[in-house]
């Protein structure tokens, strides 16, 4: 057995790696903001003009997240763009809603590993889709509520709530930036990268440099989050296992708490929820016990956007808080009462039953959720 001193050394190294990657992540957010500003108002306008259509924003959130299989990448990127003022909070709200839907594709893919296993597939697929169905139902309620309230009051309810929360916080700095030591050190990293490409490599100024920096920033975000999630999962595996064992037979708020904490620590709701799929498949975790964990994962994942917002200023923090409010609201809508809690569970079970009768239902479901809904919405709006 490995000596405890070696173990501690290894774990310390992992913690340091986490801190380093967090720094890289925040630097990438800062860099993205700088690239966006460098590109100029014209470029941003042409890039984001389509997002005046909220269904387009929803579609961007769904598809971008499904492609990279990480809602954290999508929401962090959104925070970075909102921070520069090039993307408004109002236009960003549907993107973060879409990110919630897109992230569930990971679970669906994992559940397909059981596709030849009859009842195991039925249980696994139900577990994968209960998360998605919950997100769809939440968007079905809060998306129109946000749009209607914006139409009537000039600002959506989630945006209004987030703005009020941010305004109440004792934040240092004015005019769109936080003057914190973290912000300053992260700014240094972003400037160093910009200087590397401009002065050393010799890439000419905007728009070329802006484009290169944007790509570099996105790559940095993806890599940093990937390393963070893998690293933290390895670091916390034993504790995560203990918590999941504790919650296997329970159906209440403990699952919510564990889902939130695990996800906040590993910085990925996909990791938390996809860990549950084999347990659903094996039947050791029921939908009733696993559903609260998934709700908790939704809430826990908002920490990434909040972290990104620490270097993004009040506007970035507002959209990060919108993300948090959206997920908390969804939980409050469906979790407290048994009758509402059962709705996504029953729908998921029915869908899983159909999928075991005919696997084409799986394809149909993926097509409807990830292609048809966003596409139809865009067409109707137009």
């Amino acid at each position: 057995m490995e000596p405890s001193s070696t173990r501690r050394l290894r774990w310390t190294a992992r913690l340091l790696l986490f801190v380093l990657m967090l720094y890289v992540f925040l630097g990438a957010i800062k860099l993205l903001g700088m690239a966006s500003k460098m590109a100029g108002a014209g470029a941003a306008e042409s890039l984001f003009s389509g997002l005046e259509n909220p269904f387009a924003g929803l579609a961007v959130g769904i598809l971008a997240t499904a492609l990279v299989q990480s809602s954290s990448v999508t929401t962090a990127t959104t925070v970075g763009l909102v921070a520069t003022g090039e993307l408004s909070v109002a236009h960003a709200v549907p993107i973060v809603m879409g990110a919630n839907i897109g992230t569930s594709i990971t679970c669906i893919l994992v559940s397909l590993g059981h596709i030849t296993q009859g009842q195991a597939f039925r249980r696994a697929f139900a577990g994968a889709t209960v998360h998605d169905i919950f997100n769809l139902l939440t968007v079905a309620i809060l998306f129109p509520a946000e749009m209607v309230s914006r139409k009537i009051f000039g600002v959506g309810i989630l945006e209004k709530g987030a703005t009020w929360i941010v305004a109440s916080l004792p934040l240092s700095g004015t005019g769109g930036e936080f003057h914190s030591p973290i912000n300053q050190s992260v700014k240094w990293l972003a400037k160093a990268i910009m200087s590397f490409f401009h002065d050393l490599i010799g890439i000419p100024g905007d728009p070329w440099l802006a484009g290169v920096l944007a790509v570099v920033a996105l790559v940095m975000i993806v890599i940093a989050l990937l390393v963070i999630t893998k690293n933290m999962k390895a670091l916390m595996a034993d504790r995560i296992e203990q918590w999941l064992n504790r919650v296997l037979k329970r159906r209440g708020a403990l699952g919510l708490l564990i889902g939130a904490v695990v996800t906040a620590v590993v910085q990925s709701s996909s990791i938390t929820t996809s860990l549950l799929i084999p347990m659903f498949g094996a039947g050791v975790l029921t939908l009733e016990a696993g559903f609260p964990i998934m709700l908790g994962a939704n809430i826990g994942t908002t920490i990434t956007a909040l972290l990104a917002a620490t270097v993004a200023g009040p506007a970035g923090l507002t959209i990060a808080v919108v993300h948090l409010l959206f997920n908390v609201s969804g939980t409050l809508l469906f979790f407290p009462l048994k009758v509402t809690r059962q709705i996504p569970i029953i729908l998921a079970e029915k869908l899983a039953y159909l999928a075991t009768q005919n696997r084409l239902w799986v394809l149909l479901y993926v097509f409807v959720v990830f292609v048809a809904i966003p596409g139809l919405g865009i067409l109707i709006w137009k």
Partner: protein
């Protein structure tokens, strides 16, 4: 705080917890076996021990289900590197549960038997009971310590007992004992043999690769060859001259 975050400071705490629970299953299995065997051999009042025996068996069954759940969680969290350890546990936890079941069968036999065992068969079964009870304690130690030499010795002793029980069953079936207790003795030897077989499987998990757990004929054959060699060396040493070349 650091230790708490990392799961209590011990690496692979989940697997260790399951192994501890399995060890407790073996201990409980020993208790159930001793209780049932004593009842069968006439040392105990059946009514007094019935509740305790069935409650312990229930605990063994519950532990099996608990370990199986935890195996799924462990494999999900830790991934493919932990599969072999999980598969081993999944296999041997069944063996520990079956020990409890056969002990319960022995108790049922005690209730149904027309008489209390007596004579040569009683002496035989008492001797077997003591050996098997000791083997249960040994199998727990071997499992905890992963001691391969001890595991091999247990496997060989188990095979001895299994062969002995088979011999006794064959004699009884051939009608060499026409007493009213013959069917009871057949079942008793059978149950003892099955308990020992399951202990052999547990020991095999210490020395065999995953795909060969429960398969110990090679180990037994190697031990027999070694014994023949030793016997051959001993007989040479007693004065027999071997001319080489």
């Amino acid at each position: 705080m650091f230790d708490w975050l990392l799961g209590g400071g011990k690496a692979n705490a989940g697997l260790q917890s399951m192994r501890t629970q399995f060890g407790q299953m073996l201990d409980a299995g020993r208790h159930v076996f001793d209780t049932a065997a004593n009842a069968f051999l006439g040392g105990t009042d059946l009514d007094v021990i019935r509740d305790d025996l069935f409650a312990t068996d229930k605990r063994i069954n519950k532990a099996e289900r608990q370990i199986r759940s935890e195996i799924v969680v462990h494999a999900s969290v830790h991934g493919a590197t932990e599969f072999p350890a999980c598969l081993v546990l999944m296999s041997i936890v069944k063996d520990a549960e079956r020990v409890g079941d056969y002990a319960k069968n022995l108790f049922d036999l005690a209730e149904l038997a027309p008489e209390t065992p007596s004579g040569e068969h009683r002496d035989c079964l008492v001797n077997l009971k003591d050996r098997i009870s000791r083997m249960m304690a040994t199998s727990r130690e071997i499992f905890d310590s992963r001691e391969t030499e001890g595991a091999r010795e247990l496997i060989i002793e188990a095979k001895e007992i299994e062969d002995f029980c088979d011999e006794k069953v064959n004699d009884l079936i051939r009608g060499n004992d026409a007493s009213v207790m013959a069917p009871t003795y057949v079942l008793a030897y059978r149950y003892f043999k099955r308990v020992v077989s399951h202990l052999r499987n547990v020991a095999s998990s210490v020395v065999q690769p995953v795909h060969k757990i429960d398969f110990t004929s090679k180990i037994i054959a190697e031990a027999a060859d070694k014994e023949n060699e030793d016997n051959g060396d001993d007989s040479q040493g007693e004065g027999e001259v071997v001319v080489s070349g």
